[in-house]
């Protein structure tokens, strides 16, 4: 069977290309909202943790955060996804894509938290002192002085975390979500020709990642240029 025939069979017949397109849209949807959730959680945890480390306040929230970080970073994301779907939401009828956003967001939050905490702790203590010496509260000093500086240093790392998350959502098929990976796999199971559908899936991920990486590189260059002012 020639390439043209194989192409027709895998993508054109029965509009099979739609598996890939819809899968891609689902993947992008899950990634986008999981990144948002992850950033939100990550910042919250990072601020709690760095506040505890610097001021010894918020011990109880800090302990909760540490448990969260240890559990999430110490177990595979697929297992977390399965537990959230089959155990936590096992007895209720719930939108699977929502579950995926939740699972990947909670997972990503743990990594974002450590990146952001690193950024906050890397800001010189003198910055916090200068803010406090002027009479600003801890919160005002964090919001206006420390976090903007931390954000600038961790922005590239955060963008990379989003790129990693895009690839990690490929396990969404474990709870029968028709994401990009699952889309390719469905075509394979219908046509019994694995090469084209799976390679196509890989190429789509690769192009997306290369595109996003080039955006991060532009961002890094802009930030570096800013430092020289």
């Amino acid at each position: 069977m020639g390439f043209i025939d194989s192409f027709n069979q895998n993508f054109i017949e029965q509009d099979r290309w739609k598996y890939l397109l819809n899968g891609l849209l689902t993947t992008l949807f899950i990634t986008f909202f999981a990144v948002l959730l992850g950033m939100l959680l990550g910042f919250l945890v990072a601020i709690i943790r760095s506040t505890y480390l610097r001021t010894k306040r918020m011990l109880i929230p800090d302990i909760i955060c540490r448990v969260y970080l240890t559990v999430i970073r110490g177990t595979p994301v697929v297992v977390q996804l399965l537990i959230i779907y089959f155990v936590i939401f096992g007895s209720v009828n719930i939108n699977k894509v929502f579950v995926a956003v939740l699972a990947f967001g909670i997972n990503s939050g743990a990594y974002v938290a450590e990146i952001v905490r690193g950024g906050i702790m890397a800001v010189d203590d003198g910055q916090l002192e200068a803010g406090r010496s002027l009479g600003l509260s801890y919160r005002q000093t964090m919001i206006h002085i420390v976090i903007p500086q931390a954000l600038k240093t961790v922005l590239p790392a955060l963008a990379n975390e989003a790129i990693v998350l895009l690839k990690e959502t490929s396990v969404a098929g474990y709870i029968a979500i028709a994401d990009l990976t699952k889309g390719g796999d469905i075509i394979r199971s219908q046509t019994f020709s694995p090469f084209l559908p799976l390679i196509s899936v890989a190429v789509i991920y690769l192009v997306l990642v290369m595109f996003l990486t080039s955006l991060v590189n532009v961002l890094e260059r802009r930030l570096a240029a800013n430092d020289k002012r």
Binding site: D124, G126, Q127, E129, A130, G131, R132, S133, L134, G135, L136, S137, Y138, Q140, H144, I145, P148, Q149, K152, D227, K228, R229
Partner: protein
């Protein structure tokens, strides 16, 4: 204005301040000298509660401040400026924003009023054309002058200087000391930890000598430098003068 009684401070096992009693009056220019590790900076940092005293009391303008809540401490700090050895300017903000951030956030002034005040302060510290630049573009001496302008923007009643010229290249020390002299002449109450003996002699109304966590001797600069009594002080002066 500031009354310190029995002030002690320990970091874990290490006792840095071993009981300080001191009275600082309005308009005074106190210069604190002493060998490194003597507790000078810690004493200064206790005055605006950047360090929490272990024991003793500090009364500022009639209020005992060592056991205040955070919010009240913030209010006290608005009335006490501080200038740091390493300037600690905010690198992500323009010079104008560095100066206006605190007064605007703390609702002392509107942004317009604060901007006008910043212009005036920049003229006063001799850097009127730097409002829109960033700290990274300034020399060390210029940074410290901006840091002083930033402290002045809050209209403090006293300014604490923590070794303000120690991190500067020698040729930049003069411009900062000159500005501090101007402040002194304008009647600002100042507490200065420094190694600049010339400044102490010329500007101080009182010089304190600290060693091993206590004030060993204090006097007017004249007597302090010409007829020191404490043996440790004589020793110290013979090394630095």
């Amino acid at each position: 204005m500031i009354s310190v009684k029995g002030l002690k401070k320990s970091f874990n096992e290490l006792q840095v301040l071993k009981g300080i009693d001191e009275e600082i009056n309005k308009g005074e220019k106190i210069v604190i000298i002493g060998p490194s590790g003597s507790g000078k900076s810690t004493f200064l940092r206790c005055l605006n509660l950047m360090e929490t005293p272990t024991e003793g009391s500090i009364v500022f303008d009639g209020t005992e401040i060592t056991h205040l809540h955070d919010r009240e401490i913030n209010r006290i700090r608005q009335r006490m400026g501080m200038v740091f050895q390493h300037f600690n300017l905010f690198p992500h903000l323009t010079i104008r924003k560095n100066i206006t951030l605190a007064p605007v956030l703390l609702k002392k002034m509107s942004q317009e009023q604060a901007d006008a005040k910043a212009e005036e302060l920049l003229r006063r510290v001799g850097l009127p054309d730097k409002a829109d630049t960033y700290p990274a573009m300034l020399s060390g001496g210029q940074k410290q002058r901006i840091a002083i302008a930033r402290a002045l923007a809050m209209d403090p009643e006293v300014i604490l200087f923590d070794e303000p010229t120690s991190a500067l290249d020698p040729e930049m020390v003069g411009e900062v000391l000159e500005l501090m002299k101007q402040l002194a002449d304008d009647g600002m109450t100042m507490v200065v930890v420094t190694h600049e003996m010339g400044f102490a002699r010329e500007v101080a109304s009182r010089v304190l000598f600290m060693a091993e966590g206590t004030i060993l001797e204090q006097n007017t600069p004249d007597k302090f430098f010409t007829s020191p009594e404490n043996r440790r002080l004589k020793d110290f002066l013979s090394k630095v003068l």
